[in-house]
């Protein structure tokens, strides 16, 4: 049977990781360039929304990714215990990433999740302080567009 929604456990783990990453909202409320992280997250997560909204047009079964899901849970849990936000954010990225089946450039898209994390401001402040905003948007947008294109192509191949 072809499922038109992610497995229940994946949804629960995503919610758990989101709750652990609620500090992101506090960060984005501050009047700084870090709030553009919210925009980067929306751009980054677009392929997931795109995939599941078009899921009923696919004939093939969605390949689950339990290892990535488990990794997300483990990282978020350790980030919560150790009071380290960046681990919780990486955990959230892995959990959301596990909602998508493997596509070309999947790892690049997953790595580009750094663009919405507050850690990006810290890294950018050290290495490219003048280009943080542009780098954040580009890094989130290019892999997300490529992923969306790959999803679109798969729909055309498997209508």
């Amino acid at each position: 049977m072809i499922r038109n929604r992610p497995p229940i456990i994946a949804v629960f783990i995503c919610i758990y990781c989101m709750v652990n990453s609620l500090d992101l909202i506090v960060t984005w409320m501050h009047p700084s360039q870090a709030r553009l992280g919210a925009v980067a997250l929306i751009i980054w997560v677009t392929p997931v929304v795109f995939y599941w909204s078009l899921r009923n047009r696919f004939n093939e079964k969605t390949k689950d990714r339990p290892i990535l899901l488990g990794l997300g849970l483990l990282l978020s849990f350790n980030g919560m215990l150790g009071s380290l936000n960046v681990l919780e954010h990486i955990g959230l990225a892995c959990a959301i990433g596990a909602l998508l089946p493997p596509f070309p450039m999947n790892l690049v898209w997953l790595a580009s999740s750094l663009s919405w994390m507050p850690a990006f401001d810290w890294l950018g402040g050290r290495f490219f302080p003048e280009y943080i905003i542009a780098a954040r948007i580009l890094i989130s947008a290019i892999p997300a567009c490529y992923m969306a294109h790959s999803i679109q192509t798969r729909i055309s191949v498997n209508p």
């Binding site: 497995p7 456990i9 629960f12 339990p66 849990f77 350790n78 215990l81 009071s83 380290l84 050290r126």
Partner: protein, 195 residues
């Protein structure tokens, strides 16, 4: 997803919830911070407490913070010690913070101190020049790496405090455009290394 992986994920998820609740109840309990062991006055130096401004109070929240002005000979400096045992997020990377406050870093150099090294930064903003010396200390080792601080603080929490004492951020900054003889201060203000 196979039945086994599904069961394993549910089991892992349930365990994280249970362990999370247990940690919340029996997590690391911190006594009085060791930053309060630093005396206000002593042989060759004198100091006074400075109050935190509203933005500092909001930033540090539950963390224990000591903000003092010390005079040692001709040199005057502000010392800020932040113990993030109760609020780890109050401890930020000093480089990131000063840049965010509009300072530009003109130079940095490592300064050897007892148990490791600190980082001496020369900062500029408008017509102002300041020197900042900082390090993280867990009372055994001292270093200026924020990533190492994150690792130490995280492992300490995960191991319920068995990996060592909470790392504390020590920051010393000059009050005016004049430079400070840091070597002399570090030499004569040995109590700093008891934190």
């Amino acid at each position: 997803m196979t039945r086994l992986t599904n069961i394993l994920l549910w089991l892992g998820f349930s365990l994280t919830l249970i362990i999370g609740i247990i940690f919340d109840i029996y997590g690391v309990h911190n006594g009085t911070s060791r930053i309060h062991n630093l005396p206000l006055q002593g042989l060759g130096y004198t100091g006074y407490d400075m109050s935190l401004n509203p933005s500092e109070r909001s930033l540090y929240s539950d963390a224990e913070v000591l903000k003092r002005c010390y005079q040692l000979g001709k040199d005057k400096f502000v010392l800020i010690a932040i113990d993030g045992a109760r609020n780890r997020h109050a401890v930020h990377d000093p480089i990131y913070c000063f840049q965010g406050a509009g300072w530009s870093i003109s130079s940095t150099r490592k300064l050897p101190i007892e148990g490791g090294s600190g980082l001496l930064m020369n900062l500029q903003r408008d017509e102002q020049d300041r020197e900042i010396l900082y390090w993280f200390t867990n009372n055994k080792t001292r270093h200026s790496s924020v990533v190492r601080y994150w690792i130490q603080a995280t492992i300490r929490r995960i191991t319920l405090g068995r990996s060592g004492q909470e790392p504390i951020l020590i920051m010393m900054q000059s009050l005016d455009n004049k430079g400070i003889e840091w070597a002399k201060i570090l030499d004569e203000f040995g109590l700093l290394f008891e934190i």
